[in-house]
Symmetry: C2
Subunit: 365 residues, 2 copies
């Protein structure tokens, strides 16, 4: 995936907006020898000074100008609400041959915007990576490695631009997934923006009620976790994608109405519940890696002190690598740990080891 040979070499790259993502792209371009010279452009002089001090960029610019004409790669990496104004400011200076891309999490609007601006070499993009620790100080090339990076060409996107964008993404160690802007926006509306709004609605239902929080078990906490993300970022995403989100809301309401109707038809509801379980259990675990840790082990832990420590230390001592760990929060699963290991063989070894230590174990190696 990251063979320099398979990578395009850009001569001069401009990173417009040197934050967590922009900075990580800049570092990736330099560390993986994808660009000979990386220029950072940002509205904030402090940010540029920091980027230079951290060696994220070779050169900084504080305003658009002639320097852009020499860039054969331009990455728009400002916060989503600032992307369109940024594009308008840079458009007059862009070289016709430059590959231009962005990193916004909603695509249809920005795609139309740059088409209207007549930027031919634009390929809208969405690297599905991030961190709760923002800013260029936390930027690192590894942030983008193995991340799904959606590219959303339009009918007017030149195929040469798309193939260069795909090579750029692969060169940075990420996994390109190509689909039209509307398809992308509909998908993220369903898997990301609708769940956020649902989570927010559920959260508001328990506001200012102590009795509710006493009874709120793991299930409720799971369903409202995304509501504790950054309010402004979440707000900007759902507002920008409100058209697709409304469609998703309509489909969600129909599903919910069908289930409510099934409350009078227990047989139907049982089938719906069973189908739901099958679907949920078949969802891949998508974390930093595209390879889901299929090698899971569930360990029943008695209600005694430091059981998590005992389990993890036993595996660590045996040289077994714990890729993922989860305290199963559904109340019915009480004191149980899910461990993600590297291989079926590791699962077998860990299971034997933990059983010998007196733990009850269920594995799917």
């Amino acid at each position: 995936m990251s063979e320099a040979s398979a990578s395009p070499v850009f001569d001069r790259a401009a990173i417009a907006g040197v934050g967590l993502i922009g900075g990580s792209v800049a570092l990736g371009l330099r560390q993986r020898l994808l660009a000979r010279h990386v220029i950072g452009y940002d509205a904030s002089v402090e940010v540029l000074r920091e980027a230079e001090a951290l060696g994220v960029v070779d050169e900084v610019q504080t305003s658009p100008g002639e320097w852009l004409r020499g860039c054969d790669l331009v990455v728009l990496a400002a916060p989503m609400s600032a992307l369109a104004p940024l594009a308008r400011a840079l458009a007059p200076w862009l070289s016709p041959g430059a590959l231009v891309t962005d990193v916004g999490s909603v695509k249809a609007g920005i795609a139309a915007e740059l088409e209207a601006l007549g930027v031919r070499g634009f390929v809208p993009g969405h690297p599905m990576a991030g961190s709760e620790r923002g800013g260029v100080t936390h930027a690192h090339a590894g942030l983008l490695e193995n991340a799904v990076w959606v590219l959303t060409p339009t009918d007017h996107t030149p195929l040469t631009a798309l193939s260069r964008a795909r090579a750029l993404v692969e060169g940075l160690g990420a996994a390109p997934v190509v689909m039209p802007p509307d398809a992308h926006d509909a998908l993220v509306a369903t898997v990301s923006h609708l769940p956020y709004l649902v989570s927010l609605a559920l959260t508001h239902m328990v506001a200012r009620d102590e009795r509710l929080s006493l009874l709120a078990a793991g299930g409720f906490r799971d369903l409202t976790r995304v509501a504790s993300g950054d309010p402004r970022m979440s707000r900007d995403m759902v507002v920008e994608n409100r058209a697709a989100l409304r469609d998703a809301l309509a489909r969600f309401r129909r599903q919910l109405e069908r289930l409510e109707a099934d409350l009078e038809q227990p047989g139907e509801l049982l089938m719906a519940a069973s189908e739901g379980k099958r679907t949920r259990d078949s969802l891949p675990v998508v974390r930093r890696s595209l390879l889901p840790p299929k090698h899971d082990l569930v360990v029943a832990v008695p209600d005694k002190p430091n059981q998590i420590g005992v389990v993890t230390q036993a595996l660590g001592a045996a040289g077994l690598n714990i890729k993922d760990i989860e305290v199963l929060a559904i109340r019915e699963e009480g004191g149980a740990l899910r461990l993600g290991l590297e291989s079926a063989e590791d699962v077998r070894r860990a299971a034997a080891l933990l059983r010998a230590a007196g733990f009850e174990v269920r594995g799917r190696g």
Copy 2:
């Protein structure tokens, strides 16, 4: 909480339905010396034989009869769909002075049922404890310790019966919470049954679509986790509580409609998002213990092998007890671990220790 002195002593206790909960109550009654003689009654002879072999009960009965008249405690512990028929079968034999309670997860129906049967000493109950490993083989007294155990007296419940039920719950090491049946059913509809239906609806939206599961990040997995619980148990709960669930659904729809309308009023939506975050962040972590682990530590883990092992082993080696651990699944929080420790002092020690080991740490001791 579990002082034998504070406990009532029952002479003969009948456990009707010797499964995970019934068996755990029986074991608690015997181990905590709350009852002199515990009789197990179940429809299944195999279950009774197992209960006897495991020493869960002193005596078994396969059908209602004279033996019930001598019991001063009767616990109805059958699956929810079987509770009413069970109550009708036992009612004719119950002593007027007996304390009768049940363990169903929905209360209004069973409360009315036993009132209609004229069982005066009945106190409806709901121990909020369970395990994914059902049956008497997995029963243990510890299952009920520190669990919230809701008692839902009606206007006709004798106060003496309520105080005996409260003493029973405390004697078993659980925490009694008293409220009317309707209030209980409304609360669990909001925090448990509505979230289940919402989760099921979301799950159905991604059925048979590989692209969706590729993009489904931690947030979506969190919101659909409860949909992977046992379909029949979940179905029975929501059907039994459908009246309260419909009210919760109506309130949920109003919340969702308000948020959808706010998509046109970004200012309003930002306020709603911020209030939601405040509410969610103030939810206590309710697991087996009523004391939420407030002493959390968030550790940023680089994308390298066995980082979870390195962290947990470092704390274990220092004698620090990890009460809870969570891989923060929100994509924005990438490689971060949340550790629940025992005290602010432990958080300070762990933070110092991990920083010395080169980890980035944020604590709230």
